[in-house]
Each structure stands twice: as C-alpha cells, then as structure tokens.
Symmetry: C2
Subunit: 224 residues, 2 copies
C-alpha cells in the first residue's frame, strides 16, 4: 500500500532487466546472479539487488535468482500482465510507427483504436487498428473506459488534445510531443522527450570532440 515509494530510477531500470532476463531465458539459462546482471547492464550490483527487491523476488545465496521467477516478478510489479486498452491520437509518422509495433502488448498496453483529424488518414487500418475521426473519440473512450491515451499530435494541439482525453476519463497519457502538458493533478503523464535525449547526445558529443582536439593540440597549460 506504500508501494508508491519506489524510486523512479528503479522503475526505469526494471524494463531493461526484464528484456535482459527474457533473452537469458531464450538461451535456456535458469539462474542468474545480481552481480552478473550488473556487469552486463552496467549497473552496480548492489543497485541491482535493491531494484529487484522492490518486486518482491528473493534470491538464494550461492546460486542467485531464478530467471523465470524474476521475469514474473517484474511483470507483476509493473502490471505488465494486465493489459490496459489505449487510444492513440495523431496517426502521423510517429503514430503509425507505434501502431505498427507489436511489442507494447507485452508491456500491458494495447492500442485498440487510433484517431486523426486528417480525413485522408481516417478509414485506414494499420496492423488491424482502425483510424477513426476525432468526433468519435469522446463517446468511444467513455464507453470503453479507456485508461491510457497516446499523444502523437503536433505540439501546437497537444495541450488541447490532452485535455480532451482527460475529459473522457483517460487517467494516463503517454506524451510524445515536445511540450509540458498542464493537466489536473492526479492525471499521470509520461513524457517521451526525444529532444532531451538528443540534447544529451549532442552535448556529450560536442564535449567529447573538444576533448579530443585539446589532446591533439599542444595546449599551453591554460587554467588550473
């Protein structure tokens, strides 16, 4: 009941453990130690233990954890074995890529319909998911008790679209637009900040290159 107090960094690492473990299982491995996970994923082994501890799974000294058990624990913890229906709004480049992806269902999210304001998109079907006109959103979302909204519309209309979703009972929004949504307290928003990612990349690359240059040139002992 005090389960909300799980550190968010832990939450973010769990899926990467999960995928790693699934690959181990495919290879037929049954046991795994926290130390090995840490080494392979670049996480400190004590950190791995803490992270896995929140899922409730226990390891045994000398042998480590059962791969299968860990997988199930993580699935349970993240609620990945209960599928929640989601609506996607904005079936453009990114939206269709997400629709075409089969992998989200194992992460508890099933896109059951898509919506777009562009009449040219409406009526199409992608991977079995129909693209419907915006007018249908309100009614359908309410009737189907849609809990998750996936937002892949242009940034200019992201705020209003999100508000519309929330008005129809959507409790969580997966936001791909580069904007901070202002929504009622209690609504869960998860931003996929691709630009943040690019910012980090650009900055690191630029620093990296400057460091290389500095090493190459004589550098007259500047600064302390």
């Amino acid at each position: 009941m005090r389960a909300e107090s799980v550190p968010e960094p832990t939450l973010r690492r769990l899926p990467s453990y999960y995928h790693y473990l699934v690959r181990l299982r495919e290879k037929g491995q049954e046991m795994i130690s926290a130390a090995q996970i840490g080494e392979d994923l670049g996480v400190h082994h004590t950190q791995v233990r803490k992270d896995l501890a929140v899922t409730g799974s226990q390891g045994k000294p000398k042998v480590g954890h059962r791969v299968e058990e860990l997988i199930v624990s993580i699935e349970n913890f993240l609620n990945w074995n209960n599928v929640t229906d989601a609506f996607l709004v904005g079936a453009g480049h990114l939206g269709t890529a997400l629709l075409g992806y089969a992998g989200f269902e194992r992460a508890g999210v099933k896109i059951v319909a898509a919506f777009d304001a562009n009449p040219k998109m409406v009526g199409k079907k992608i991977q079995g998911v129909s693209i419907l006109p915006m007018e249908k959103f309100t009614d359908l979302a309410r009737r189907m008790h849609i809990g998750i909204g996936i937002l892949t519309v242009p940034a200019e209309v992201a705020q209003e679209t999100a508000e519309m979703m929330v008005g129809c009972g959507v409790q969580a929004i997966w936001n791909f637009a580069p904007i901070v949504l202002d929504l009622p307290q209690g609504v869960i928003v998860e931003n996929v900040a691709l630009y943040s990612s690019l910012g980090v990349l650009s900055r690191k690359l630029s620093v990296h290159r400057k460091a290389l240059l500095a090493k190459a040139s004589p550098e007259p002992v500047a600064s302390e």
Copy 2:
C-alpha cells in the same frame, strides 16, 4: 573545459526550456523570469536558475532574461547550431518515422542516409533521404566522417550493428532498441528506452487505480 561536469538532469531539462522559449518568442514575448518558466514547466525556480546558469546566459534583476538570448545560449550549449551528419540503420516502422520528421535538424542532427538489410526497402526515398543497402555503410560512413548513428534495427541485431558502426568511426549512437549495448569505452550511447517509459506509466497507473479502489471500499484498517 570542465564543462563535462554538468548534471545530466540539467541537460535533459534544457531542451524543454528551449521549446518553451521558442513558443514564447513566437508569441512575441521578449523577457521572461526564471520563476515564470518554473511555474509553467513544473520545475522549481531555483532549479531553473541553476540550469540556465550552465549555459552562460545571465538574467537581470527585476526584468528577468531576454528570451532570444536564452534560446541562443541553449543552442550554443547543446551545440544545436552545428549540424552533425547522421546515418540511420533499420528503415522499418520506427526508422521511417524518424526519417519523416523534420525537427531533428534544429537539434543539430541531420540524417543524410538510411540503410536496411531488406532489399524491398533499399532504393526507396523518404523525405529526400535514400535507403541504401548495408554493404555501402562502411565505405560511406568512413568517407563522410559520420559522427552519429541512429539504431532502429530489431534488438537481436542491435549489438552487432552498433559494433559495425563504431568500427566505421561513429562516435555516438542513438539507440532505440530495448537492449543495453556493450561498446568500447568512449563511445557515446544514448538510449531511448520506450519500455522504461511504459514501465513507469503502467506502474503508476496500477498504483493509482489501487488507491482509488482502496478509497472506495471501507478498508478494515489493514496493515500496521
């Protein structure tokens, strides 16, 4: 020169300030205070000041910062005004979505070519970017001094593809596959962990719903 010591959370917030500021500029606003930015983006105002400070931009008491100046500072800091050429490998659902997106160039990344192992994809052109066969990667990447590789291949081949990229001089990899790449020290890897994002979303939603249920039901004073 000690510029590497910028906190990564700061790096991740800068792009969101950037987009916010660009929208302000479009609206014609010239000045902005750290307090206002903080309120609009849900960041503490002292944090905003610290973040902006790393870019070197200074504000003036009583009036705040010049919007235009801040934008330029952030661009400089992230090196977003120097465009670096990038190759994309894996022109599938996600790869084509990225190719179709015009917005990355303003973030200093220009996708100049795409590569795919599937002969059906090869030869196509998306937004002016040609999809080439994998055989051409090595030679072209070396000759064009490609610094950034964008990885949108299936997870099974992500590791080997990344190694191939690094072998051709690629210094930074933007990885969309749900796998932790094991690459030589010094190579910059930025993971877009969509599943992490989904993990956080699922977990929060599940906790949120349990909390709602608990409030609705009588709850006979369980737990300690």
